[in-house]
């Protein structure tokens, strides 16, 4: 067993510097690497390019990095619900590349799986396809999209073992598995870190080969963005 455990978030983020490109898992605020984000804020690294489906809200998630102006460029599919983000984008302080959600996921997967590029129908005929190679297959048009290149992936799982094997919960899985092994270094934080041999190999979502560092996360807030309930009749 190759042990991937690091004892804390400081060690997990060793080697992070200004100008790096990062992938961060999560959909909205669900499944975001809360501990890694807090540490990025504490370290104060700047001019980051962040690949993440969303940009958090004003005071949580990637919004915390935006507040400190640590992000130079965001690559996302949906960035509503964040006033500071909108202000920085409209004033030109923040560069933003919006891409279709499925393309975002697949560009991560391509990096993970060794594909330099792929064709997708998403965005054909729209401004997303401007300047990109297009090609017809069986009468339908497709756009060539490239694998991401990034330095660190920060993902959050429900359970993990010290070998780096990961299990996700519910819809907090989202982009996290796609980003594992898609950067030079993948850092996984988990709600529950267990010894090797504890998790059933049949139930592993992401094998440890895609993870370089794993640590036991702390103080998860797991904030709900849109608490929606029904009444008992």
């Amino acid at each position: 067993m190759i042990n991937k455990e690091v004892s804390n978030v400081q060690k997990a983020l060793f080697g992070i510097t200004d100008h790096m490109t990062l992938m961060l898992g999560g959909f909205g605020l669900s499944g975001i690497p809360e501990n890694a984000i807090s540490e990025l804020v504490r370290l104060g690294v700047k001019n980051l390019t962040c690949i993440s489906n969303n940009a958090g809200v004003d005071d949580f998630g990637l919004g915390l990095l935006l507040q400190k102006k640590q992000i130079k460029k965001m690559i996302s599919s949906y960035v509503g619900e964040n006033d500071e983000f909108e202000r920085q984008m409209l004033s030109g302080e923040l560069e933003v590349e919006l891409i279709p959600q499925g393309t975002l996921a697949e560009r991560c997967k391509a990096a993970q799986g060794g594909f330099p590029a792929f064709y997708t129908p998403a965005g054909y005929g729209t401004e997303v396809a401007e300047g990109k190679e297009t090609r017809e297959f069986e009468g339908k048009m497709y756009v060539l999209e490239h694998a991401f290149k990034s330095d660190f992936s920060f993902v959050k799982a429900w359970k993990g073992d010290v070998a780096g094997n990961l299990i996700f919960k519910g819809t907090s899985r989202n982009f996290n598995p796609c980003m594992c092994g898609a950067s030079k270094i993948t850092v996984a934080e988990v709600e529950e870190l267990v010894p090797a041999g504890t998790l059933d190999p049949n139930q592993i979502h992401i094998p440890g080969i895609f993870v370089q560092r794993i640590f036991q996360g702390t103080h998860y807030e797991k904030r709900i963005e849109q608490r929606t309930v029904r009444q008992k009749v």
Binding site: Q101, C108, P121, G125, T126, T171
Partner: protein, 217 residues
């Protein structure tokens, strides 16, 4: 004229037994409340769930179980969770049978715009571009006119496009229309709405053939 609930009820008639369905944010989400009796459908949310159920009871919300609108949800028997890449494989791979989504503009050639107003609103396309580029059965649910009373059914879209030539059917507060090679074909009109009302509210070519039936639920 239909309200949002009325639009959702009419849309629910498009559901067929055995359909996997992706519902967009807003009016489309309401469709899940009006699934016709006796048919089995499963709702997919692109953030990674099939078999979505109703909102949870108070106190039973789970931050790890949400829909694409980031609302807390529940799951039904037979549900499954998956990652974002697999989710869009379901969509691009045409495994999802029906997509219902909102729009700011639809053109008579089937183009749709729903993600950006240059200089004013930039929230992003989310999964909409993947959905409209792939699905064969796409229905738009929207108000016939915008807040300024201007038609949203146009000869050509004026806003940045989400997809080209992809919309087949539209359900609005005034009418049900089909996109044909000659323009918007009026299929049904809402209760209390005349064909003239619909003509006035439609900037694009409106095709009216014979008597137009009233929408029934």
């Amino acid at each position: 004229m239909l309200d949002k609930i009325g639009i959702a009820k009419r849309l629910a008639k498009e559901l067929k037994d055995g359909y996997y369905v992706n519902l967009g944010i807003g009016i489309p989400t309401l469709v899940a409340n009006y699934v016709p009796e006796g048919i089995a459908v499963e709702f997919q949310s692109e953030n990674g769930v099939l078999g979505m159920g109703p909102f949870p009871f108070e106190g039973e919300e789970d931050a790890d179980v949400i829909n694409a609108g980031k609302q807390t949800i529940t799951t039904l028997a037979g549900a499954s969770f998956f990652d974002s890449a697999l989710s869009f494989s379901m969509i691009r791979g045409k495994h999802v049978h029906l997509t219902i989504l909102g729009a700011m503009e639809v053109a008579e050639n089937g183009d749709i715009a729903n993600w950006k107003i240059p200089g004013k609103m930039v929230k992003g396309m989310g999964g909409a571009m993947d959905l409209v580029a792939s699905a064969e059965n796409i229905i738009v649910a929207m108000m016939h006119t915008n807040k300024n009373g201007e038609s949203k059914l146009l000869k050509r879209c004026t806003l940045p496009l989400t997809g080209v030539g992809c919309i087949k059917k539209i359900v609005t507060n005034l009418a049900v229309l089909e996109v044909t090679s000659n323009g918007f074909k009026l299929l049904e009109k809402a209760p209390g709405v005349s064909v003239d009302d619909i003509k006035k509210a439609t900037e694009g070519t409106l095709l009216v053939e014979g008597d137009i039936p009233e929408i029934v639920f």
